[in-house]
Amino acid sequence: MASLAPSFGSGAMTNSFTDMKNANVILIGGNNTAECHPLAMRWVLEAQKRGAKLIVVDPRFNRTAKVADIYAPVRPGTDIGYLGAIVKYIFDNKFYDEEYIKAHTNALYKVNPTFAFNDGLFSGYNPQGGPYKKDSWTYQLGLDGLPLKADALTDPDCVLMKLKEQFKDYTFEKAYEITGMPVDKVKLVAETFVKNRPGTILYALGMTQKSVGVQGIRMYAIIQLLLGNMGMAGGGINANRGEPNVQGSTDMAALAHILPGYMPMPSDALPTLNDYVKAVGTAKAKKTIALLKAWYGDKATPENEFGYHHIPKRSAKESAAKYVPIFEKLNQKAFEMGFIFAQNPAVSTPNLDMVWRGLSNLDLLVVAEIFETETASFWQHPDVNPKDIQTEVILLPAAMAFEKAGTMTNSARWVQGKPAAVPAPGEAIPDGDMIYEIMNRVKELYANSSDPKDKAILDLTWHYEAPGHEGIDMEMVLKEMNGYDLATGKLLDTGSQIAKAEPGTVSSGLGGLYTGVITEEGNHSLRHDNSDPSSLGIHPKWTFAWPNNTRVLWNRGSVDKNGQPRDKDRALVWWNGTSWVGNDILDVAAKDKGPDTPEGSKVFSTGEGKGALFRAVYKQPQKDAPELTLNPGYDPNIFKVAPVITEPGIADGPMPAHYEPIESPVQNPMFKQQSNPMMRPLELQEIQKSGDAKDFPYVLTTYMVTEQFLSGGVTRNTPQLNELMPSNFAEISTTLAKKLGVKSGDPVTISTARGKVTIDAMVTERIQTLKVDGKDIEVIGVPWGWGYKGLVHGESINKVTNSAADPNTGTPEYKACSCNLTKGGN
């Protein structure tokens, strides 16, 4: 999560579903909770029953809006416009929590005087292209390398004043001009959210699938820090993630830029382990060495840099995000072989022509699935002749959740275990068994190799057989993830043991992230004690939450300077005179250090130890680092001299700014700079086309319905769900319907620069014509999970969506692109 981590130190849903009842106000912006997370809505409604106000901001009056106290419409992709007005409102009325921001954020830190922001561009912009030069996005530092602090929040150099300056023009009227949200609604949303504390914010893909996704969520972080809502029961930022184990798969780093546990992936800019430690900081490097010990065991030694070179180094020049680039490269014939496990990109990728054309360039595609999907059967695409596609496809039958033992991590970081309840049908087997078996076979093929490149495979630890029977035992894998003290052979109890240990003496496949999930005491992911002594929805003995079974992240922020709860009815942790105790496990701060000490007052795990209102580039220096000459490669003394934590900054700015979506019907009302200046150029000119408002005057946005889940790979094969939601639809306003003479049920053609699809219209009051920049703007809404396989079919709207993406995360701008709509079929 590329916006929460630079703001707080690590990125995940901060509180939990059962904690939402503690909120006095809930802002849902970019998430249709009732539709997409129905059982999370139970806790939103519980909060409302207890008197909380519910605010829903969405382009559509959706199922969640129906029960909201306040519904405010917003033009897709423009949230920063109204969130900026909330920030200005907080500043104008000094509604920020002064004690909290002074103690726990970087509000007082002095910013480099050469930092500037002009007409939509930050200092360091290169008009010739390429990334920002970030040397002005820094603090003024003392001789000790620590940031200089202003005496007062009014110092024009300090972060707080830079933030105030950044949002000075975001009036309620300007917010209306940008977003189409009426002025009185912007004001009501701002007042209601700011005046009721604690408040929490819920978001999901409605916020991330934008060219400014990261900066939009940074707005949430800034607002919650200003209001002192971070670390509070009923506060925080609750990212409602989309898939059953997407939190887990992110933790496991099925991503190009990180290793399991959120340590940065080595790159070719970091040729040795010494270089890596210097760049990522000692805290993360110790975790990476623990991972290398888990992966390479006794073969990971100080002499071979703990196997640092067994892991591929990504290209520092290429995008760290890989989703759209993989499909671009497929079209450029960069790959001969691909693996796709349990994913259906032939429905879920924007600009779908990229997918089936790209996959056709492979020699061999391996797909693991429980049902036949559009991806496995891309060669059956209606626009192609299978004879022309020379790709061999192997489709491996997978076991589903109830047919295998293992753990999944929910959005709230709860690592929940489950047994195998029934055998899989026929010869279907768990995905893990397939991967295990393929690697065993690859190891056999390389058995006689002495090529150094093959050590990465031959030395890889790959023994997960439980005593007593053949085959892989997933609990053995969980133990490797948890980690061991290598001297005693015992399972580790907490991740902090890795920070304290000499590098190379402990192992953990996740660098300590899940440590404590399975200990000598037992497998905590299977705990089913639902007791809740505090009645705050903490349930401390229900399964296990990372980190360290902490249920509310940054909970040290819930106390005052004496270590006592700021809100007695929401007490999470407190200082009892000798140690920190409470209803939850203390996060970040040291358990035995008083509230007035640096270690005992730390709330966040950023490089500064502070919440970042301004995300500066910064390196936390090592105290009293000696002058040393280091041996090349790896020298243990690197841990005495390298920075502790490093903050590389955010690609598109230390603070957010409003940019228009890449395809937009209006000129940016804020700056000459129209859209995100850090957009990665697209590679395939004949496929990844962009259109303008002259030809494509309407705004297309996409979403999901309760009954058809994501790409539909499972639900479109489930008869009882198909009975509830048998076909797709395009929601259009009554105004547009009248103008075009369209009735509900009529086929309409939606076109963009990328192509056309035909879908039946649903004329609805749920979408209203928005007034933006004096113009009437029509929004078209279409659920995206349709395709040509399964029991029910429909054209995929992703055929026409835009693959332009957020420059930090690579997440495409599905939520806002320019389209036209005409009556009749294609």
Partner: protein
Amino acid sequence: MPKLSRRSFMKFTAASVAASALAQKRAYAKTDDNNKAFPLMTAGAATSYGICHFCSVGCGIEVKVKGNELISTEGFIDHPINQGALCPKGRSLKEMHNSELRLTHPLVRKPGGNKWEPISWDEAIDKIAKKVKDVRDKSFTKTVDVNGNTVTVNRTEGIFSLGSAEIDNEEVYLYTKFNRALGVHHYTHQAEV
């Protein structure tokens, strides 16, 4: 590891799944003696536990099993989040197991072909492993030049991997470890989009 024939491969995977299923079922099994007078379809079924496999809320599910048949999926009453309730997708989960549309055997679509054909597990794994070695060896970059310095990068260029937010933690952990050991650096999944 000795090379396994298809038969022994199937035997041990099936055995490992079945063994864990039995062990766990024993741990969770309760005699359901409700409704003796008017037996429900769940009467006499063993009770097991599952986690919903749709959105990320992580609801608990009571799974009722008779023999090898999954006969009902209902909300798990003791789960702190869903407290026995489920949405329509969660309720439908038994169909995911029971569906006749499930893939039950490895299949191959040959180059230029217009249909799926059966392939044995052993042959499928063998083909995949050999292709991995072939493409890896052919497309491997040991070093690159960065500003005049030779940097060891050990990258496999010719293979990409996608997946998955739909499989268990242990499985995706192994998938990451597998991909990184091969040298795959074009690797991502649903979380990025």
